[in-house]
């Protein structure tokens, strides 16, 4: 392996190496400092992110191709079966939707009686998750729309069953989001049954959230549905988050040990919905 070729074989030291590495270390530390303190470096991130975009596309391509292949080779028979299933499902959903319209009207009327502002419907848009896996120690995902489509930092992401996560970094054509199961993520929720408010904290496990701030005597049971309370401001209220699956009360401890299973299939989703929530109601309601 002793290379003896060209200009590399000169056994002399590489000139200026120590100086260069010192400068680079200093620049890195400065960058980290500014990045940590406040996000003045979004421009740099965006520029580098745009440069990485083609690589993401290429990594994503085989998975897309495989799916496309699977779709285009399914037999007519299977397609017809699926069509039938979808039709039945649509009928059901439509029926439910009718009831929802009636309920919404009733809700608006009641809110009118209570003199609260009516809730405005949220705008949604479907995004594809790119098959790009970033950091294994964080539960992140990358979606295929970015600031060009109006995505903004902190935006809520849901799927058909519940809350998935929120956008943490917006590129031009892609955006990165953190899942609610990430160990650094916390989400204000309320129990659908009785309106009990608490915080659901990610655990780093994809199928578990913890509710660490519930006192021992809190009214919570296994099977309770947790929905977003909308108090944090990031998530619109009323989206299902998780179902309580374990409540352990230890007499000496101040807090009950409660965990819940996320409603959304966090590790299976391929398509998600981004929510553009209408200007929030919660901020103005109280002082009247």
């Amino acid at each position: 392996m002793v290379a003896s070729r060209g200009n590399n074989s000169n056994p002399a030291r590489i000139p200026g190496l120590g100086f260069r590495v010192l400068v680079l270390i200093l620049i890195s530390i400065l960058l980290m400092y500014f990045d940590h303190r406040d996000n003045h470096l979004d421009g740099i991130r965006r520029a580098v992110g745009a440069a990485v975009y083609p690589v993401r596309i290429v990594v994503d391509a085989p998975v897309r191709f495989w799916e496309w292949l699977g779709e285009s080779t399914t037999s007519r028979n299977e397609l017809e079966l699926e069509l039938g299933r979808l039709k039945a499902e649509r009928l059901l959903t439509n029926a439910r939707l009718q009831r929802l319209t009636a309920l919404e009207a009733e809700n608006a009327r009641l809110r009118g009686l209570l003199d609260a502002r009516t809730r405005v419907r949220d705008e949604v848009r479907v995004a594809q998750i790119m098959a790009v896996d970033a950091n294994p120690y964080e539960h992140n995902l990358v979606i295929d729309i970015g600031s060009r489509d109006g995505v903004y930092d902190g935006q809520a992401i849901v799927d058909a069953n519940g809350v998935v996560g929120q956008v943490i970094e917006t590129g031009i054509m892609t955006a990165q989001a953190v899942l609610i199961s990430d160990a650094d993520h916390a989400l204000p929720v309320e129990v659908n049954r009785n309106g009990l408010r608490t915080i659901a904290v990610g655990t780093g496990e994809i199928d578990r959230l913890d509710l660490p701030f519930l006192p021992n005597n809190a009214d919570i049971r296994v099977g309770d549905v947790l929905v977003t309370s909308g108090l944090g401001g990031a998530f619109p209220s009323g989206y299902p988050v998780a179902v309580v699956n374990r409540v352990t009360r230890i007499p000496q401890e101040p807090f009950a040990d409660v965990s819940a299973t996320p409603a959304a299939a966090l590790d299976q989703v391929r398509e998600v919905m981004l929510i553009w929530s209408a200007p929030s109601v919660t901020e103005e309601a109280p002082d009247e």
Partner: protein, 163 residues
């Protein structure tokens, strides 16, 4: 001369892009924690072989790209990569004549240093401390190193004879 240099750089750039792809390629949840640090290994290899062209500067740029695609603090991977590549370039002559076992131990130490710097920065920045599996890439990286070494030597030889 400049054409010669460009043709020598191209294979390395291609290996780095492939390395980035391997880094962001989706893996099953269980396997993802064991993914080797491909870019660190690649940069170490090229720093041993061509330390005048592939040194701390390129390591730093690759690190920034990694920071952006990981969404970590900007400069974190850049710092860690430039430090280990600095150590590599400093001792590249020695590492060229190391027997494979000794080289493996050195790679292990470099990867451990790399993970340690990342770990340390995380600690200072207050990011949640990960589990013991955090150190798994050090071991898998050392295991894949000999194969990567043989493969990259082939790439290097072919690129040179083709040019």
């Amino acid at each position: 001369m400049s054409r010669d240099r460009a043709s020598r750089r191209l294979p390395v750039i291609i290996t780095l892009i492939v390395g980035l792809m391997l880094t962001i390629m989706p893996l099953p949840e269980a396997a993802a924690a064991f993914r080797p640090d491909w870019l660190a290994l690649l940069l170490i290899f090229w720093a041993i072989q061509l330390p005048r062209t592939w040194s701390v500067g390129s390591a730093w740029i690759v690190g920034i790209v990694l920071d952006v695609s990981y969404g970590t603090l900007l400069g974190q991977h850049a710092l860690a990569l430039s430090v280990i590549v600095f150590a590599t370039v400093r001792f590249h002559l020695l590492m060229r004549v190391f027997p494979l076992s000794q080289l493996g131990a050195t790679i292990f130490a470099l990867l451990a240093l790399y993970q340690f710097i990342l770990f340390w920065v995380n600690g200072v920045a207050g990011v949640t401390a990960p589990s013991i599996a955090y150190w798994a890439p050090v071991i898998t990286g050392t295991i894949v190193w000999p194969f990567l070494y043989i493969f990259l030597s082939g790439v290097r030889y072919r690129a040179r004879s083709g040019a």
